[in-house]
Symmetry: none
Subunit: 201 residues, 4 copies
């Protein structure tokens, strides 16, 4: 028997809820946001939210997973057209080198908050850590390795370590989002220079 609504419809609705939830979490944080607020924001009833997500926690986790996957895929695609390791790294740094006013502060905070949240939830922490390795670190690691193979990048340290340095810098940068007086553009450029200096052949 044909389903009453299409699979596509459900997927879209789910995404709508997710989007609204993100807005709310960005505004007030996960714990402080109530399900009612997500209802108000999304125009979806409480009951409906629970037909799409089994709990507020699950909604949160799902939201973060979607976000991560989406951003990773977006980046992956964009990098494909690029050639040298430094072109690729340039692209990655460029993501963060933008007008402060255009940075979605709330969303970044939600992401950081989620990192801390998972740190207290061992089950998901394990999964998330693995995702981090696979998608984030490994991804940059491959770029570095390629650069090392081509002789663009030195081999003083392993590709793994360099990749970790990259992300450590980025995370350090992101957490400064909370300080209105942090000189974002200068900082990202300074750190990019520092990193390049360190790794260039």
């Amino acid at each position: 028997m044909a389903p009453i609504v299409s699979r596509d419809y459900k997927e879209r609705k789910k995404q709508e809820i997710l989007d609204s939830a993100l807005k709310c979490f960005a505004r007030k944080g996960f714990e402080t946001t109530t399900v009612d607020e997500i209802c108000r924001e999304s125009g979806v009833s409480k009951g409906s939210i629970y037909t799409y997500f089994s709990s507020k926690d699950e909604l949160y986790i799902e939201l973060m997973r979607h976000q991560t996957v989406a951003s990773i895929n977006g980046i992956k695609e964009a990098l494909e057209g690029l050639n040298t390791a430094f072109d690729k790294l340039d692209f990655l740094f460029a993501i963060y080198d933008q007008d402060f006013s255009r940075i979605p502060t709330g969303e970044i905070i939600v992401n950081l908050e989620f990192k801390l949240y998972t740190s207290r939830h061992n089950e998901i922490n394990a999964i998330l850590s693995k995702m981090r390795q696979e998608y984030t670190v490994n991804h940059v690691k491959e770029i570095i390795e390629e650069g090392q193979r081509k002789g663009e990048i030195n081999q003083n340290s392993s590709a793994q370590i360099y990749a970790e340095v990259f992300w450590t810098i980025i995370h350090g940068f992101l957490i400064q989002i909370i300080h209105k007086d942090y000189p974002f553009r200068e900082m990202i450029q300074e750190m990019k220079a520092m990193f390049y200096e360190r790794i260039k052949a």
Copy 2:
């Protein structure tokens, strides 16, 4: 009328509560910790907690302020005996260059969490941002400036920027605490090398 209990007694009790609260927050996070849990941990009654702190929020903020001040003072003192800028920076890096198992993971997470918490509370955010400038950034900035004056550190970038880089790196490092497989010691050393390379004259 003489006070019935000494100012000292009150200060000690306050500190006791603060210590217990830190333990609880480290275990479960601020929002998830209940006042009852802090009572249990500290052996202090609910009523008492509210005579020392006007709200759970205030307790949280006070705790973080105490912590920051204490750690700053401790560091300040230790640095006094040191001479060159690099000796001082060495000391600062050494704080984070330790056995993973000895790192008070929970406490670090509490601190990061607090940063995010404040980002949604403009009143305290302003104060905290100022404190950060005064005590944290400026402090390293002075070290750098001194190094620049003495010719140990280059002047390619301003002392301010270098100081911010230092803290950005440290924060990026700290947030990795949540990943059990992060190679802490190698990373701190690699990043120290990178930073020194960048700033040395």
Copy 3:
């Protein structure tokens, strides 16, 4: 206009839902069973259930009525072939004189639960009480009367009273279903003996 689906089809579907509902109620009780569970058990959609029954309550009442009527009719038929009052009573007692493991515990509990449920719903209670009189008590009463007429059963008490005693014993027996260690077979026999002793001429 001819009906699109036969009356028979509808009756069958209704019965299917009723059967599934009984299974669910037997497992978890009326209040605790959700309409969704009945859907799952029966494979019938929620909307359908509501086209056959106007509410969960109505479904419950209907189920119990069906059950009662069915069991009464079954018994009536079986008794027709029997002659003496004691043969008939023997048959009735035999219904309960069986292997504990074959007793549909859950269903019996549903029935008892329903009795209590009705006790709080005066409208249906009146109807049910009447049904009890007409079908259950009167039925045994007739058997007793017949026995009294034939001289098999004494007239120390009225047929009505004896009939009530019979059912009181049976209900008392049924409620013990909840105790796993109740010696069912011995008990039913003992009580049968006691009853016979009391009523025999």
Copy 4:
């Protein structure tokens, strides 16, 4: 440090809540009664109820336990002054031989309901079954045994079986509470006569 309120005070308050809960459950049944209703009935706040009972379920179970223990103790005491087995049994039967209008119908229904409730909760069912054995069945069993020793009661069946018969009759009787037209007094007397006839030496 002395507790702020006496142990006695707490016990009394607990009992107050229990009493109110009984009234509510008697009126509407366990599942249908809301905690808010118990609050209204008792004049106690919702929060308070949860400082005395960890859940609605626990409140229910506790209520039933209290009730059982109280009634058992009351009966035990009363029986102490009596001599022969039949005097004691008379006393027990007399409990149920009263004016219908004075019978606390609701409370009896709550008790029966609880029996069914426990039948679906194996953990408490085990405990309750044991209690039943120890306090209820054994109690009558001892009376019967004594009667058998003294030659007042025959030994055609075991004291255990006779005791079970007694309670089966009583439970069968109690469940008729729901029928307004059940002739309670005549019935209890008839059944008493039947039982005595069966057991007397």
